[in-house]
Symmetry: C2
């Protein structure tokens, strides 16, 4: 009887079959490519169009590039990938769906807003662990211009923003999950519940998402028996400078101290002199940092145990216009290198 053997605690999964990231890739837009982690990207476009006719096509191209680069780095072909799980921020998930058309891999579309990076990675890991796929591919993307015009104002309008606003990162990330090898191992995943503290300001996503991150992290620590100090790096996806201190305070109130090992991907991407308001956001925020910088540092054994907590704000322009609060979610994945 296999029932329920991989669920632990309230909402965490434990992986027992030596599930590892076989390869990953990060593709960055021009601003990201001029940021602090520029050395870590597989590909940097110096133009927001990425050689395409529209920004939407550019975003899709970046996702296709990330996927194809990851497949190549894993020394596989797309025929060897059993399933492709992907999500993005655009209406009807078009970057993900259109990239799936190019790859011709059985496709599972997912939506978790900016939390889609760890959502797709978590479910990809379950499909490999459960024997439903030998290799599963997880991918996400976001693009500053496609997100601006969809969620906010026509891009040319140049609407002003408060400093609590965030800058949607342009880029894409992908990872291939399989059994065995020497890459970073997926040990746990914690699936979030939707939280909502009544925050309605779409120009302050950090404040809205911080409670979701705190909830998922607290659940993760309770479910696994781990403490923050068990990780040498804990990152959130895109809480940025407003949300990150709120998260620290919320967790501190619950008895969990986040120290120096805590960082936020939205604060890691850009240089001080790049104007990004409170910091980066978007599916690409957690994806290009995790699938580029963090996994590279893990392979170098600089980090051995990392907890990536991808945060997502699940609003739509119409839910916001109808006066609804912003429901948020966070999904966490514990990624580890072998001790030896």
């Amino acid at each position: 009887m296999m029932q329920n053997t991989r669920k632990i605690g309230k909402s965490s999964w434990v992986f027992k079959e030596n599930i590892r990231i076989q390869a990953s890739a990060a593709v960055a837009g021009p601003m990201e490519g001029n940021g602090k982690l520029s050395h870590s990207y597989d590909l940097i476009y110096d133009n927001l169009y990425a050689g395409q006719d529209t920004w939407e096509q550019a975003e899709r191209k970046m996702l296709e590039d990330a996927v194809e680069t990851a497949i190549k780095k894993a020394d596989l072909t797309s025929e060897e990938i059993d399933v492709y799980l992907a999500g993005d921020l655009l209406n009807q998930n078009i970057s993900a769906s259109f990239s799936a058309k190019a790859e011709k891999i059985p496709f599972i579309g997912m939506y978790g807003a900016c939390s889609s990076s760890m959502l797709t990675l978590s479910v990809a890991a379950t499909l490999v662990e459960g024997g439903f796929a030998r290799y599963a591919l997880a991918g996400v993307s976001s693009h500053n211009c496609t997100a601006e015009r969809q969620y906010r104002y026509p891009t040319e309008y140049g609407g002003q923003k408060p400093n609590t606003a965030q800058w949607t990162a342009t880029g894409a990330g992908a990872a291939i999950i399989g059994i065995g090898g020497t890459g970073p191992r997926i040990q746990y995943a914690t699936i979030g519940i939707v939280t909502d503290l009544g925050i309605k300001n779409p120009f302050d996503m950090g404040s809205a998402m911080a409670p979701a991150a705190a909830k998922t992290m607290q659940t993760h620590f309770e479910d696994t028996g781990r403490k923050p100090k068990d990780y040498d790096l804990i990152v959130t996806g895109d809480l940025a400078s407003i949300g990150a201190p709120i998260l620290k305070e919320l967790l501190s109130n619950e008895g969990y101290k986040l120290g120096e090992q805590y960082q936020d991907c939205g604060l890691m991407i850009y240089s001080q002199d790049q104007e990004v308001f409170a910091g980066g956001s978007g599916c690409a925020s957690s994806a290009i940092v995790t699938y580029g910088h963090i996994l590279q540092q893990m392979m170098l054994k600089k980090y051995k145990k990392v907890l990536v907590v991808a945060t997502g704000a699940l609003l739509s322009p119409i839910s916001y216009q109808q006066g609804e609060p912003i429901p948020c979610i966070a999904h966490a994945v514990a990624i580890e290198m072998d001790e030896t």
Copy 2:
């Protein structure tokens, strides 16, 4: 070594752990409630607002009702459900996300347009089979008025349509997956690949989606060694009167004859005198027919082996406006009653 033991053929999964639908529920809007399957719904709203202030809230309410009814029928509480997988047609999946907020169950957002019904059901089944959940809940919704104003024109505008257009069904469906019991068993799932034959007319989704349905069904038959005659009912989600004959012809060209046992959910919902152009569509089309009528008939042993092929058109208004063709997908689930 568990690796890859549940994947068969190109893109199908086989379930070995006695995975069954513990309970399901179907909630219908007013037109659907006056249609041919009115006896089979758990709840019928006689008003498109369902007691809410907006159509979007009405859609969400129907999804919440479906979920809560299914949980109640399974004699469970929401605390006993380990994970909730849901999708809908609205931008940023707001019906699914907001319903997850109400239920407080760890949430996996999915997007497959109208194919989301079988996509969520398939992945829910893998999570139970793989030991990641004791009970997994799958749910989808659609609403004629929320879809009209998002995909087409302001609803009040009353834009005319050609007869190839389809009518987005209003309603929601949910199913609870678990191990054991006496309910319908999930035997196989076939995950689709994205197909695109260059069709660009968003008022003829049936023609666009038929090749995706044909592709997934052909793959299903090849992967499982089954033939159409092995099923006493095969339904597609929403090909309607234009797409269904195209599917039959495409499969016939490949040597698979669909006979009398083939039906389309979009043609089963409404009466002859209801004006729905080519037939029903939307996530609710396959969901209310499957989670209401079909599963009830299976419990009565009227049908023993059923293949539900949910079809989805993965376009967005912006992809269409930018001149892109309509990528489509279909996911199939084989549901069976025990022979005895």
